[in-house]
């Protein structure tokens, strides 16, 4: 087996220290080592966007990073956005606008949208569609997702 590496990474505000094999993907590390199964694994080729997490605040594909590369950095997963008693405005808006059916793609959409709405508090429909163009949803046809983003933007501006 390859040498193990020490990883000190802050996930959702908690510092974790783990030993990992270099080939362990960030997505698998989050799910299997840390038990944070909110990050979903779809295509594992960087296409579908389901595994999107925030790496130092920027959305990235966690299936295209090694866990060892997060040493000394910060990761936010969907679990870090809010919980059932205190949903993030974007989560609340997805709920209210019926922006999910099976929900598999949702964590990736949410993590993509958090920094997007922080930078674009009043986005046009075109800007929204462009922002979510790296996330695939097979249920909704995107219309309700776009509406949820508009609703979330309204909530966050208020």
């Amino acid at each position: 087996m390859s040498d193990l590496f020490n990883v000190n990474v802050t996930v959702n505000g908690t510092l974790y220290e783990r030993e990992v094999e270099p080939r362990i993907l960030l997505s698998d590390f989050l799910r299997h080592d840390l038990g944070l199964t909110g990050t979903h694994v779809g295509c594992e080729h960087g296409v579908c966007g389901a595994c999107t997490v925030l790496f130092d605040g920027n959305p990235v594909r966690s299936c295209l990073m090694f866990a060892v590369q997060t040493n000394g950095h910060e990761v936010t997963t969907v679990e870090g956005l809010g919980d059932i008693d205190d949903l993030h405005p974007i989560q609340q808006a997805f709920w209210e606008a019926h922006a999910l059916q099976c929900g598999f793609c949702t964590p990736g959409f949410l993590t993509t949208l958090v920094p997007f709405l922080e930078e674009n508090p009043d986005p046009s429909e075109e800007e929204i569609r462009n922002a979510i163009s790296g996330n695939l949803c097979r249920c909704t046809g995107y219309q309700h997702i776009v509406e949820a983003v508009q609703l979330a933007a309204e909530k966050m501006r208020a």
Binding site: S2, D3, E21, L25, G46, L64, S133
Partner: protein, 297 residues
């Protein structure tokens, strides 16, 4: 035995502290070690079993490679580790190198561009590389650190075939340099994909143009094509035609035909060779017309 999760093959992860250390390791393990930058291509190739390297050498952030600098007297320097989104968001890139900013924004998706790099796109040497055409047309050159020290590789002679470049074992590209843009430069990247985002290009057309008193037509307009040949293709005939003759609807059609004739595409999962050739002509015609309008005709 079938593994529940195929994952990636085993390899050793090397994180050198200096460029010299990186070059030495890569040279000593030629054929079994690969530099890792953004990794967005490497992961996919390794997962699919195409690449089976024993060592991945993480070169992200070595010795000042994480900087992007525009110097009004020299031009633009993009460090090898600079993620694509940082390039297209840079005000000087948008202002002076529009073709590059446009091409960068059409690579895969936003999330991917937070990891992927332009230097990685170039070194990967895919004929489909979206940013390569702009770098070629803008006169780009690479700063390379090898076992014998630093040197410069002009992009014009860099590409040898799909995935094959002038780089030798031990070479680490540290930055891409683009000279100052000519006055009045305009440019764009046109990408034809199966969808608007995420996919590789069926074909890609990069055009740049600027007023040039030395050209008979008064303009210098250049065009490069992606996904139509074993290497990214600059169609020199387009520049020649539109420099020698007045730029009109007819000469643009002639130049677009020259672009089509220069193509040697293949059939693959995205499109047939025949379709690619036809689209190379049509999209070139559209691109040249729009650039011509932008130049103020």
């Amino acid at each position: 035995m079938l593994e529940a999760h195929p994952g990636l093959p085993e390899f050793d992860y090397i994180k050198p502290k200096t460029l010299a250390e990186a070059s030495r390791f890569l040279a000593d393990h030629a054929g079994e070690a690969r530099p890792l930058s953004g990794g967005t291509d490497i992961f996919v190739r390794m997962r699919d079993g195409v690449w089976k390297d024993k060592y991945l050498v993480d070169i992200k952030g070595l010795d000042g490679t994480d900087e992007i600098v525009y110097d009004p007297s020299k031009g633009l320097t993009i460090g090898a580790a600079v993620a694509m989104n940082r390039v297209s968001a840079h005000p000087d890139v948008k202002k002076h190198y529009a073709a590059l900013a446009d091409a960068v924004d059409k690579v895969a998706s936003y999330q991917l561009r937070n990891r992927a790099t332009i230097v990685g796109n170039i070194c990967n040497a895919s004929p489909a590389g979206d940013t390569i055409g702009a770098c070629l047309l803008l006169g780009g050159a690479l700063d390379v650190h090898g076992v014998d020290g630093a040197r410069t590789e002009p992009l014009a002679s860099f590409f040898e075939g799909p995935g094959s470049t002038a780089l030798k074992p031990g070479d680490v590209v540290t930055s891409l340099r683009l000279p100052l843009p000519p006055k009045g430069l305009v440019g764009r990247y046109y990408k034809l994909g199966r969808n608007k985002s995420s996919d590789l290009s069926i074909i890609g057309v990069t055009v740049v143009g600027f007023p040039d008193k030395r050209a008979a037509s008064g303009y210098r307009i250049k065009l490069a094509l992606a996904s139509v040949a074993p290497t990214p293709l600059v169609v020199a005939q387009v520049e020649e035609i539109l420099a020698a003759k007045p730029v009109t609807e007819q000469t643009i059609a002639e130049a677009a035909q020259a672009a089509m004739d220069a193509c040697t595409p293949i059939d693959d999962v995205r499109a047939s060779a025949r379709y690619r050739k036809m689209m190379a002509r049509n999209l070139s015609q559209k691109a040249l017309t729009e650039i011509w309008n932008q130049l103020g005709r």
